[in-house]
Amino acid sequence: MIKVRDLNKSFGRKRVLRGINIDVNDGETLVIIGSSGTGKSVLLKNIVGLVTPDSGSIMIDGAEITSSSADELQEIRKKLGYVFQEAALFDSLTVEENVAFGLRMLTKLNEEEIAKRVTQCLNMVGLENVELLKPSELSGGMKKRAGLARAIAYQPKYIFYDEPTTGLDPIMSDVISDLIIRLRERLQVTSIVVTHDMKSAYKIADRIIMLYKGEVIFTGTPKETRNTDNPIVKQFIEGSGVGPIEIDRTFGLE
């Protein structure tokens, strides 16, 4: 279980996260929605220890992330998989080496077992005959799937997805959403997904929370989200330009 308590983070004078409190239950898929710049990705990076919070507590299975030593963090990271927005595959390595990377660093599997696991994971995300290609030779959707294969290869308990469908066509977005559901069913992972894509959010979420100006302003099931009276959430899910969400309409021209 992941517990986030009173989490605060600022960059310079800008307060990005203001007293965030979240619980993520085992086996659950929590989707975090919100406009760009509301701190969704920063929240994910705080939870996995890529960014250090200014104050607050983050507990993963009872271990406090914020005060863990480097060695303790290393142990905790074995439970965490992270799918980056632009996949963040290592340019200099082949797809096979990318997927095998975490297995070599975080497990004690031998090369034969690693090769077998890599093929399994690539098949699971629907990639075939790409083992020897470099990331630059893959399409956007293939990169996302290869990034997903890399994140699930060492069988983490928690997977964090940073905008997994952004930049993809609607069909590929749906394929990725199905993949997230399938992985949860097959591997029983707990997932935290950051997205703007409401179609995908409704499809994959057990629970949806919305961040606005660095605060959690809404929590509910997909059904409750659809039927909410909260004007901010309503404006966001309807994708309306008119409403309480503050938008700079001058586009810097004034």
């Binding site: 996995v48 890529l50 990271r77 965490l80 992270y82 963040a88 595959l89 340019d91 890399r150 994140a151």
Partner: protein, 274 residues
């Protein structure tokens, strides 16, 4: 009117003071971060477990792939030196004297280490910053962390070790090729025999002369590696940021090499290594 002008002047002063303070702060911060990276690199080296494969491939990149350009530049540097020395001594003494001695000394104690370091800065230091900077802005460094790998250990240490061991070797190579370039020119232009040239080169040269250049090249390697890795790891702002970091790496490395060369020479001479 006078009051308005006074307010403007005061505002401008305040702005200038703030700009200077910010610049000073960011310079000190940058030096602190680079020093911290250097100590982290040392920590990982002493802890062990460094990837031999990565280190060897970096050594090939730094050493073997720099070989042609170092050969070319040092050969011509040796020829230019021999030409200048022969011409000057011919004007002074009516014959080219000590061409081998001056060419050899200039190369071994000064030009060899400094020129090699500058060429390696342009070829290797810039490439390290550009590669690490691109990894930073495309979140590949974050990906390394999430896969249980410290980027300093995995990326910076092999590059540091490669530079630390290969730059002195490249310097030795530059010295030999430069002296050979001087020989080719001296024999063909100044009509001095090969034997005379070699005895000129070797008669006054001692072990400490070679040591002088070698010690410098180890320091230069350290400067290039730390600045290149630091600039790469702290790159911000997409492709433009990578370009800025790379330029900054080359400029800073060259400045530090040339300035530290003076202080190192002072120190080594005072220690009798000359």
């Amino acid at each position: 009117m006078v009051k308005e002008n006074t307010i403007k002047i005061l505002k401008a002063r305040r702005f200038a003071k703030k700009a200077v303070a910010d610049m000073l702060y960011s310079t000190l911060e940058s030096i602190g971060q680079a020093a911290s990276m250097f100590f982290e690199i040392l920590k990982w080296i002493f802890r062990g477990g460094i990837s031999v494969k990565n280190t060897v491939s970096q050594m090939v990149e730094v050493g073997w792939r720099s070989f042609p350009i170092i050969t070319l530049t040092s050969f011509f540097t040796g020829m230019v030196l021999a030409l200048q020395v022969g011409s000057s001594t011919s004007n002074l003494f009516n014959e080219p004297v000590y061409v081998g001695t001056i060419t050899g000394f200039s190369l071994v104690i000064e030009l060899g280490p400094v020129l090699t370091a500058i060429v390696v800065t342009g070829r290797v230091g810039a490439a390290i910053t550009a590669e690490l900077g691109t990894m930073k802005v495309t979140e590949q460094l974050d990906a390394l962390y999430t896969l249980g790998t410290n980027p300093v250990k995995y990326l910076a240490v092999p590059r540091f070790l490669a530079l630390f061991f290969m730059l002195p070797l490249l310097t030795a190579l530059a010295n030999i090729i430069g002296i050979y370039g001087g020989l080719v020119l001296t024999v063909n232009t100044w009509d001095v025999s090969t034997t005379t040239y070699w005895s000129d080169v070797l008669d006054f040269m001692e072990i400490s002369t070679f040591l002088h250049g070698f010690i410098k090249s180890f320091f230069f390697a350290l400067i290039i590696a730390v600045i290149a890795c630091h600039k790469g790891f702290t790159t911000k702002g997409g492709a433009e940021g990578v370009g800025r970091a790379t330029t900054s790496c080359v400029m800073l490395s060259m400045i530090f090499i040339l300035v530290s060369d003076y202080f190192l020479t002072e120190l080594l001479v005072s220690l009798g290594i000359k």
